[in-house]
Amino acid sequence: MASQFNSSGPPRDPAAADDRGLAPRAGGDDPFALLGLSPAYDVDLAALERAFFERSKQLHPDRMASAPAAERVAVLSRSRALNDAYQLIKKPIPRAEYLLARAGVTIGDNERLDPAFLMEILELREELAEARAAENTELVARLQGAMQARRTQALEALPGLFAASDMKAIKDRLIVLRYINRYLEECDAALDEA
């Protein structure tokens, strides 16, 4: 599985760096390697957490608080890289986006979207905006629930697509997921206001 990826990491394409949810990579560190894992979408979350905790015990800046300044700076940046790697791998979407970028496929700012989906999401956004304006929290909660179901559905498709290395399909799903996430963020904001 690992061999099909370029081990030098993804290209530092400015457009890629601009992407939401794509965490930074200090000095081209491979987040999977930092946690002793091979790069793959399927991750054993319990094992990931164990690996993160074990490495944190060694790498955390608190362990080196009395070390010379230069060493502390190095420790801080290693600790940052480790934390960021954990965040990236832990969450399915950043993990998928990273693996996609690593395979040389990037998601730009103006990607084409399935027109049917675009129409639908525009309508749903309108409905949400109206519910928000009318302070209809029940409706907002219902819209949120429906969208969460779609998110789960979209995520469930990813393991199969990664197994088949269908990068095009993965990319399409991830673009859809961005719209879904933005919508869910808006639902959260609306419910917070209430």
């Binding site: 400015p14 760096a17 601009d18 965490a23 930074p24 200090a26 905790f53 944190s56 015990k57 955390h60 800046p61 608190d62 362990r63 608080a65 009395s66 801080l76 600790s79 940052r80 934390n83 960021d84 954990y86 965040q87 904001a189 917070d192």
Partner: protein, 670 residues
């Protein structure tokens, strides 16, 4: 046997080698410090226990008093006695509009930073300086207790403090002459104390309701690792608010009262609230002296104090009156005294008054569980932290909300300092097996064109962390980037907290979208932010340690530090003088009262000597030499000793005979 003899010496040597570091809980209401002696953390005791009330009194003569003696001044000098200053730290005028009316002292300053006018209007201080006074007091106590200078401190902050509030707290530590080793989130510190004490493993919620801040954190504890899964809360919500809610419920016309009376009303509300923490009581009387110059009206010879709208028909405040009519003959209405307001408060009423506050807590709990992607049934326990969780009203709410009995076997007011002491020990190279993985409480981002926020770092990201993002020019021939750093969850910059603004100039003129700037956010283990910007076509860089939009710049802190060194001796003398004067006043008042009440026990010689000593003491108090005041206090003590001895004998005799002091006094013929 030999082992036992050798042991104390050995531990002394160990003690001597160990760096003297402490954990400090700088609280809204009370502050305290703790340290790790051998293995377990212990709180550091001082006069009257480990807690130092977070109250600072600025006397007109320049003296500064901290803690209990300052608290004693709050009623008579509310403008110069600052409490709950933690609510002001790192904040601007805009943030404080809501609480301003309820504060007894005068806030000045602009939107950038709040200042308080004190010392009879002669001095203006910042919340950072006030907090530094509290920290100095804690430092002095710790140095006295540990027998030497403090080499470092971990200071706790509410998990939900934003970057400006954290920076300001760190500045206060520096100003107090402390080496701030780390800022640590309060609920995380509490979890450390619990985790070590009980050897707990699992996922816990920490419900931390202090005097002025509320945090709720979800932590996972595994083999010495404390990972914060999510944190939430409200850095302007606490027990203080409940005091205010009580006052507003009992006195609808509170805005008509003067500041001194409002201060007294809030203090009385706190007393009632605390008294109701005692489960044996289910009703406590709220009682307040009201100034005589408020409009009042008579009824059947009894004067009811008016607390209604000024000049309008008064709202009676006597709880014996219903709808303005006495429930019984007016002559029975003993609770209606001129100038006094009385009202019984039941625990059920207290719970009702607290509802708005508790609902906000519940909402934050819901959000933090969602962020942690957990159901409350998946938690292994709920830990109570903060003085306000002593209240049964709060405990009941937490128990109901989480559907389980919360843990409170460690003192909720000490647990944060204990955890901070452990972390200080770890940072000083101690052997504790503790690794803390804390998070950013609020998202950090940049204001984009049109005022929307682009988040670079999302809330609940483990720290230290960083993020880099590239932004492009918006207009043709744009030659600079105006970078506005904000913190918060709202979509627009004006609804978020403004942390800093800076400008990156020298971008070569290009078509819109061609100029590119790379912005990097770095967050260290204290949760403090550093921002760097790099123009990519020329490689021009700008970097700032976020100079807070609120609070103090580094230069201001430096200047204050220089000033404080220059005036350190003066300050110390002034502080001592202020303390001695308070003590002298207390003793004078007590002596006069005793002379008046027990005149029969007083022979002429003792009376003359005592009165002379009192005059001497008063003369010393008018001067500026605190040592002279201290001497005269001792002299008065000596002069009145025979009298005190007689009083003591009589009290003992009365005790032995099982009669009250009043009876004894009558028998003596007073």
């Amino acid at each position: 046997m030999l082992m036992q003899i050798a042991e104390p010496g050995e531990s002394k040597i160990k003690e001597a080698c160990k760096p003297r570091v402490v954990g400090i809980d700088l609280g809204t209401t009370n502050s305290l410090s703790a340290h790790v002696a051998d293995a377990a953390p212990e709180v550091i005791d001082g006069d009257g226990g480990p807690l130092v009330p977070s109250v600072v009194h600025y006397a007109a003569d320049g003296g500064v008093i901290v803690g209990r003696p300052a608290q004693a001044r709050a009623i008579e000098a509310p403008h110069d006695t600052l409490a709950s200053v933690k609510r002001l730290i790192g904040r601007g005028a805009k943030d404080l509009a809501a609480v301003r009316a309820m504060l007894p002292y005068e806030l000045v300053g602009d939107d950038r930073a709040i200042r308080i006018r004190v010392a009879g209007g002669r001095r203006v201080v910042s919340p950072v300086e006030v907090s530094a006074e509290i920290l100095r007091e804690l430092k002095a106590r710790a140095e006295a207790a540990l027998g030497g200078p403090i080499e470092g401190a971990v200071i706790t902050v509410p998990a939900y403090f934003d970057d400006a509030q954290r920076q300001a707290t760190r500045d206060a530590g520096r100003l107090a002459g402390l080496e701030v080793m780390r800022l640590l989130a309060e609920p995380t510190a509490a979890a450390v104390a619990y985790g070590l004490d009980r050897g707990s493993t699992g996922t816990y919620a920490v419900f931390d309701l202090g005097g002025g801040t509320f945090d709720v954190s979800i932590l996972k504890l595994v083999d010495g690792v404390f990972e914060v899964k999510a944190t939430g809360g409200d850095s302007a919500l606490g027990g203080d608010d409940l005091d205010r809610l009580i006052v507003m419920a009992l006195i609808p016309a509170v805005a008509d009262l003067d500041r001194r009376t409002i201060g007294a009303a809030v203090a009385e509300a706190r007393r009632v609230k605390e008294a109701l923490s005692d489960l044996a009581l289910d009703k406590v009387t709220f009682e307040l002296a009201v100034p005589a110059d408020l409009p009042r009206a008579g009824s059947n010879g009894i004067v009811h104090q008016v607390l209604g709208q000024r000049g309008a028909q008064y709202v009676t405040v006597c709880d014996r009156l219903i709808d303005g009519q006495p429930t019984s003959a007016a002559s029975d209405c003993t609770t209606c005294m001129p100038g006094r307001y009385r009202h019984d408060v039941t625990r059920a009423q207290l719970a009702e008054f607290a509802q708005p506050l508790l609902k906000r807590c519940g909402k934050a709990c819901g959000r933090v569980l969602k962020d942690a992607e957990l159901d409350k049934a998946e938690l292994d326990g709920v830990i109570l932290v903060g003085g306000s969780t002593r209240s049964p009203v709060v405990r009941d709410y937490v128990a109901t909300w989480f559907a389980r009995q919360p843990l409170c076997d460690l003192d909720p007011e000490q647990v944060v300092a204990l955890g901070a002491a452990v972390q200080a020990d770890v940072l000083a190279g101690g052997k504790q097996n503790v690794t803390l993985l804390d998070v950013v409480p609020l998202s950090l981002g940049i204001e984009m064109m049109g005022g929307v926020v682009e988040k670079l770092i999302h809330r609940n990201t483990t720290i230290p962390t960083g993020a880099t993002q590239i932004f492009t020019t918006y207009a043709d021939n744009q030659t600079g980037f105006d970078i506005h750093v904000v913190q918060g969850e709202r979509e627009t910059a004006d609804a978020c907290r403004s942390l800093a603004r800076f400008v990156l100039r020298g971008v070569p003129p290009m078509v819109a979208g061609m100029g590119r700037v790379e912005i990097t956010f770095l967050i260290d283990a204290d949760g403090l932010l550093k921002v760097m910007a790099k123009e990519l076509t020329t490689g021009k860089e700008a970097s700032i340690e976020v100079v807070p939009s609120y609070g103090l710049s580094d230069e201001e802190v430096e200047q204050m530090l220089i000033d404080s060194f220059e005036h350190a001796e003066d300050d110390l003398a002034r502080r001592n003088l202020a303390i001695e004067r308070v003590e002298a006043e207390r003793i004078l008042a007590a002596t006069r009262a005793a002379f008046a009440s027990d005149a029969a026990l007083l022979d002429d010689d003792v009376r003359a000597a005592g009165e002379a000593a009192m005059r001497d003491l008063e003369a010393a108090m008018a001067g500026t030499d605190y040592l002279a005041v201290r001497d005269k206090i001792s002299a008065l003590d000596v002069a009145t000793k025979p009298f005190a001895q007689l009083r003591m004998n009589r009290a003992i005799a009365a005790q032995l005979h099982g009669v009250s002091l009043d009876d004894a006094a009558r028998k003596v013929g007073v």
